[in-house]
């Protein structure tokens, strides 16, 4: 059972994008950072455990050539082993900040032309990030997708159990599974079936993908074999999140529902299994972002199109 906690107010409503909520958990500082895209601006809010907002900041996409103010497409915290960066993307390019958004450390412009070919052409840009400072370098451009890339998920490669590090998804529903290294290697392609895949996660060598027809599918990352198919939602899925410690998966969709699933591996067969844990309806809200707020998956936050607040839920 989950109960509604105190909401965090936003200066601007959330835009109708997918994956429109990013959360950075900082348990050692008793803080949680939230990031939401409004449109031409993105809003960062820090809150105390009870949801009391403490600090607030707005970031804008860099104006380039041209007249119309650029719209931000995503705001996301990238947690690297030695550093956390805040990444802001727009059709103009990619901006990287220190984790509190105070200082921009890097700006990568995308070519204008017809539309930004960076992510719109399906390319994936790989950057080398130093432990400190702005000396970020574009190291590789991966070709694997022909349609715009919607989401990227990674997990640390641990041991020989699973070699796949990264999975990328696109508007056609195609998933590409990669292994990182001095050069990235494409391991598997998992074809789509006529609907976009807006959100993807990677857990212990299993790919979890959410689709535009409301399905959640789980695949073996190294082979692309389908193991689980869930008729999870009645409308397009907009966000997936993982609580890796507990093996919990969260799915949110435009049908106003958020569902929590428990992933496990059957000890006999070794196949991935899924159990439904909880369903929450956010009345009259087209959900556009959802994230767990703690590693055990006992609390989560939700954003909705046109809603100027972050809704919070925690288990009782």
């Amino acid at each position: 059972m989950f109960r509604r906690e105190r909401s965090i107010p936003l200066r601007g409503s959330a835009a109708a994008l997918c994956n429109n909520l990013s959360v950075l958990q900082l348990p050692s500082r008793n803080l949680t950072h939230f990031g939401v895209v409004h449109g031409p601006s993105a809003q960062l809010v820090s809150a105390a455990p009870e949801g009391v907002p403490l600090a607030q900041r707005q970031l804008h996409a860099k104006e380039g050539a041209g007249v119309s103010p650029p719209l931000i497409t995503q705001v996301h915290w990238c947690v690297l082993p030695f550093r956390v960066l805040l990444v802001l993307t727009s059709h103009r390019g990619i901006q990287m900040y220190e984790s509190d958004g105070s200082v921009m450390v890097y700006w990568h412009a995308l070519d204008s032309g017809d539309a930004s070919p960076g992510t719109w052409s399906g390319q994936i840009l790989v950057f080398d990030i130093p432990a400190k400072g702005p000396n970020i370098v574009l190291s590789e451009e991966l070709a694997g997708h022909q349609t715009p890339v919607t989401d990227i998920a990674t997990e640390p490669a641990q041991g020989q159990d699973y070699v796949a590090d990264m999975v990328t998804a696109d508007d056609s529903g195609l998933l590409c599974v990669w292994r990182s290294g001095p050069e990235f290697k494409l391991l598997t392609r998992i074809p789509g079936f006529g609907v976009p895949c807006p959100s993807v996660q990677l857990w212990h060598g299993t790919v979890a993908a959410g689709y535009g027809d409301g399905q959640v599918r789980l695949y073996e990352a190294s082979t692309g074999t389908l193991h689980v198919q869930i008729s999870a939602h009645a409308r397009a899925i907009c966000a997936l999140d993982l609580a890796p410690e507990a093996g919990k998966l969260l799915s949110a969709a435009e049908d106003t529902f958020v569902h929590i699933w428990k992933l496990s591996r059957s000890p006999e067969s070794g196949y991935t299994e899924v159990e439904h844990c909880h369903g929450e309806c956010v009345p009259d809200t087209q959900v556009c972002g959802a994230r767990f707020c703690d590693p055990s998956g006992s609390s989560f936050a939700v954003t909705g199109y046109d809603l100027a607040e972050i809704l919070r839920f925690s288990s009782v």
Partner: protein, 389 residues
């Protein structure tokens, strides 16, 4: 954002405008033989709709519309509808025009939000076009124009992927973001809540191609199903009975975009007043608008293609009031919240030829080197000039 959104936005908003004007004109209908010189008759109503539709579907105008381009602001688009509404003998005061635009935008926002699949916005558009054809049954020439647009829609959108339609949907929702005007008809029908937000039902048929939620299926490495578990989804969904038709004629199945107004159900809007949801829009209106120049280029191109028929002979301009009384209309104009004013470029329909020449001349003057700083102030000057014209 998608560069193919404008035709869908324009045609659907135009369709809603026609529904509202038709309902309003019927409500004020006086039988022909009893009507005074300044009262509306059935003949007048048909003529107004006929004139607006033929202007909307003008070939040159449609050509401009279908060019791939970004969406412009609500302000810029409102100016086009202002002109369109004045395409015949009908006249609307600012307050009535504001109300008309509010109703149009909220209605289409509702339709976009409730579309089961992103692609279904095309069915909504076809519903509007089907109704428009009904308004001009007895004019084969305009009927042909409308059918041409049907064909062009099919050509432009027929081959788009689900991903591209999702992008169009997101572009439309961005256009409608933060609009929460309460419409009494929607409130009465429980389609909108008292806080201005639309009701999103969690029951009924699922979109075509989606499965009813509630099933988990697990497979072995050979693809054989090994386990099937049901779970409680929380909604009350059923399978979709059939897919709507995308042909020129056919059962669209979807009711969104059909005419929901009738003579006996007058529509009122409530201004939401000061609420925190309006804060972002307030900022948008106060800050200098760097889009001014681009928007004026767009307006010039679009309205250059609009052929406004001049009324033949000395006919009075018939004024249509979207409110119940003249006093109500005046009151609405005075009490409209600052942040919801459209700051419309006031273009009189009576000086069309002169207008087009003036616009063309101004556009010509603007073909100087693009310097961001200067263009902002040039935009302001141009707006000032147009207000004075």
């Amino acid at each position: 954002m998608s560069v193919r959104t404008l035709p869908l936005l324009f045609l659907n908003l135009g369709g809603e405008m026609l529904y509202i004007l038709d309902q309003r004109l019927r409500a004020q209908n006086i039988p022909g033989d009893k009507a005074r010189k300044d009262e509306w008759t059935e003949v007048d109503r048909k003529r107004v709709l006929h004139d607006i539709i033929s202007t909307m579907f003008n070939r040159k105008f449609m050509e401009e519309l279908f060019k791939p381009q970004e969406l412009y602001s609500k302000k810029a688009l409102r100016t086009v509808y202002d002109r369109l509404a004045h395409a015949s003998i009908m006249r609307l005061n600012q307050a009535s025009m504001d109300k008309l635009y509010d109703l149009m935008t909220m209605a289409f926002k509702h339709q976009v939000l409730l579309c089961p699949r992103p692609k279904d916005v095309l069915l909504v558009t076809f519903n509007h076009l089907d109704a428009i054809k009904g308004f001009i049954q007895d004019s084969p020439a305009i009927l042909h124009q409308v059918e041409e647009i049907f064909r062009q829609l099919t050509e432009t959108y027929g081959g788009l992927s689900a991903g591209e339609f999702q992008l169009i949907r997101q572009t439309l929702l961005t256009f409608f973001q933060d609009l929460h005007i309460r419409v009494s008809l929607f409130l009465k029908d429980k389609v909108q809540n008292s806080n201005g937000r639309f009701v999103l039902p969690v029951s009924g048929p699922v979109p075509w191609g989606t499965e009813v939620p509630g099933l988990i299926r697990m497979f072995d490495s050979k693809g054989k199903e090994v386990k099937k578990v049901e779970f409680k989804h929380g909604g009350n969904y059923v399978t979709a009975p059939k897919e709507g038709s995308f042909e020129l004629y056919g059962d669209r199945v979807l009711k969104l975009g059909t005419n929901m107004y009738s003579v006996n159900r007058p529509v009122e809007t409530h201004m939401s007043g000061a609420s925190k949801n309006l804060a972002p829009r307030t900022q948008e209106n106060i800050a200098p608008n760097p889009l001014a120049k681009e928007e004026l280029n767009f307006l010039a191109r679009l309205m250059g293609g609009m052929e406004i028929k001049k009324p033949s002979g000395p006919e009075p301009g018939f004024r249509l009031n979207l409110f119940t009384t003249d006093e109500e209309e005046e009151q609405a104009a005075l009490t409209r919240p600052e942040e919801l004013s459209y700051e419309v470029i006031n273009i009189q329909a009576t000086q069309d030829q002169q207008r087009n020449e003036e616009l063309a001349r101004i556009m010509g003057e603007l073909e100087v080197t693009d310097q961001p700083r200067q263009s902002a102030s040039k935009g302001d000057d141009l707006l000032a000039m147009m207000d004075g014209l």
